[in-house]
């Protein structure tokens, strides 16, 4: 079994996002970048599969600018065997463009199990996984919270509104990972030190013209000042009155 993991380097969840002067991109200067948290579940699941099922290799692929090498090094520190950077000049805006490039690489590698996070926390698109399915013509199960692999057959639990779906399919297949699938291992210090020295394979790639054009970025509207209705249980009637008459939500 050859396992491919697609990971993306994204701004840290705590990062202060500032819109750049061109009003269309963000200012990356003061931002700390991390591995997309959902992709960490993918890396961990890949490593677990290798440990339990035996696999030829776990290869992590990332599409992104040069700084994405740091994210790939984290994957190495966690234990993946090989990493590839598909180098672009910036993050891709277009999921289809991304999926096409990744699909080409995955095909080249001949991976049978492809894992990635359900979404990237920067754009929140949730598209690349299902798109890869179309492009590679192999099944894809999204938002997976439990995965069982037995030889070639795959059983996955998928999170849906108010419940869980249990699906079965066969490899080769794509799984997008949701929180709760596993607990990503902490990259050992030894791993981190070895990852620092690792040579990372780079390939420069061209993205297609974006089909989604950002005309501008804006900050969310500030909410108006709230009011303290009162203290303790005595304030309840007033609160309810306000919710009925002023906010009209009940």
């Amino acid at each position: 079994m050859k396992i491919a993991v697609c990971l993306k380097q994204v701004p840290d969840t705590e990062a202060n996002i500032k819109i750049a002067s061109d009003q269309k991109t963000i200012d990356e200067s003061a931002i700390k970048f991390i591995v997309n948290p959902y992709d960490e579940y993918a890396i961990e699941e890949a490593l677990k599969l290798k440990e339990s099922q035996g696999a030829e290799a776990v290869i992590a692929i990332s599409l992104g600018p040069d700084r994405a090498k740091d994210a790939l090094r984290t994957a190495v520190a966690m234990g993946v065997d090989d990493v590839v950077l598909l180098k672009t000049s910036a993050n891709s805006n277009d999921a289809l463009s991304t999926a096409k490039i990744l699909a080409a690489k995955i095909k080249e590698l001949g991976a049978d199990m492809i894992l990635l996070g359900k979404e990237a926390i920067d754009d929140g698109n949730m598209q690349v996984g299902p798109m890869l399915s179309e492009l590679l013509n192999i099944p894809c199960i999204t938002v997976v919270t439990k995965l069982e692999v037995n030889g070639n057959s795959v059983k996955a639990e998928r999170e849906i509104e108010g419940g869980v779906e249990v699906l079965e399919t066969t490899m080769p297949c794509i799984i997008t990972c949701q929180k709760g699938l596993n607990e990503p291992r902490f990259p050992s210090i030894r791993g981190v030190m070895m990852a620092k020295k690792k040579q990372i394979l780079e390939e420069t790639v061209e993205l297609e013209d974006a089909k989604l054009v950002v005309s501008s970025l804006t900050y969310p509207q500030a909410r108006s000042e709230g009011k303290v209705v009162g203290e303790g249980a005595e304030a309840v009637s007033e609160l309810i009155r306000l919710l009925r008459e002023e906010a009209k939500v009940i």
Binding site: V128, E134, E161, E168, K179, K211, G226, V229, A235
Partner: protein, 324 residues
């Protein structure tokens, strides 16, 4: 005349409110551009109910009704919908950004060699092109996007747009589609829904959330009672979920669900930034907390400084009284 094709999602034979929202929004866009709204209903045994989509604004309903389509299957549903899109030569495809919508829409997009704008909170037409507004970085920034692809595809965030029965009582034609091959490499083995009637946070109009201040799983019953009195869903902060008091599916926040109900009531939760990222889109936010300096107290529209164990039961009583 251009066509707006809408995926009207159903579950267990009942159409979802999120589906109605998309149909209503398609209707609005159609009024501006003079387009045709066609709703696609896929499922099993839904023929009788499909008509309601007309009341929400569909001009025509394409029906794919088969046993094999009872549960959502990414491959079969995609094939059906792509057929409909090709047959109608639709210029705009709209979905709801539910779990199903988020799974289906990208597949349709890729099959048609284009991208989509997902989870939009604003949508409009300008020069025949869809202009959408969608959140980035967990809502810290919004992107105003013009969709250049063809067809133009977007998915709408549930509970943001209104579901409007603009054509009450209207009868609309329901056309049975020719079905493609319904075999699939994916097999749905089981669908487990928790607690039958339990309302999911992502679909609720009112949510009552409990946090660390609830102090334990056994005390969540007072939160549940308030929620019941309001017909609301019960949410949880990460603290409550990590402590094992509530299941992960109840978690609202950056690593849980992003919700935008009409009313969001927070009890015993401080309103940390990661939680805020999950519910800041709520129309009205109420906070009940002992600590007047908790971050949420400044951000909530209405707040009560007090012990939730005293305040919440009183609220439940008052609401029950007023509902009678």
């Amino acid at each position: 005349m251009s066509t707006i094709l809408v995926f009207a999602e159903q579950q267990s034979g009942v159409f979802k409110k999120a589906g109605f929202e998309v149909v209503s929004q398609a209707r609005k866009l159609a009024e501006e551009s003079g387009a045709n709204v066609v709703a696609v209903a896929i499922g099993s045994g839904i023929e009788d109910q499909a008509g309601v989509l007309g009341e929400y604004g569909a001009d025509k309903i394409l029906l794919a009704d088969d046993e094999k389509l009872e549960n959502y299957n990414p491959e079969t549903y995609k094939n059906v919908f792509v057929n409909a899109a090709r047959d109608t030569e639709a210029d705009i495809l709209l979905f709801s950004a539910t779990t199903t919508g988020k799974d289906l829409a990208p597949r349709v997009a890729a099959a048609m060699d284009t991208t989509l704008a997902s989870d939009c909170i604003g949508i409009g037409l300008s020069d025949g092109k869809l202009n959408v507004n969608r959140p980035l970085y967990a809502g810290k920034v919004f992107a105003h996007i013009v969709i250049e692809g063809n067809p133009q595809i977007a998915s709408l965030r549930p509970n943001v747009f209104e579901a409007v029965k603009s054509r009450e009582g209207q009868n609309v034609s329901v056309e049975k589609m020719e079905l493609p091959d319904l075999s699939s490499k994916i097999n749905v083995v089981e669908v487990r829904r928790s607690g039958g009637d339990k309302l999911d946070v992502s679909e609720a109009e009112i949510i009552v959330t409990g946090g660390r201040g609830v102090r334990g799983p056994e005390h969540f019953d007072i939160i549940e009672e308030l929620a019941n009195s309001l017909g609301a869903a019960v949410g949880a902060t990460r603290a409550a979920v990590d402590a094992g008091w509530r299941p992960h599916e109840d978690q609202v926040g950056q690593t849980g669900k992003v919700v935008s109900p009409n009313l969001y009531i927070m009890c015993g939760a401080s309103g940390a930034i990661q939680h805020w990222a999950g519910m800041s889109g709520s129309k009205c936010i109420v906070a009940i907390n002992k600590d007047e300096n908790a971050p949420i107290m400044k951000k909530a529209d209405y707040s009560i400084i007090g012990d939730l164990f005293e305040v919440v039961p009183v609220m439940t009583e008052e609401i029950k009284k007023f509902r009678e």
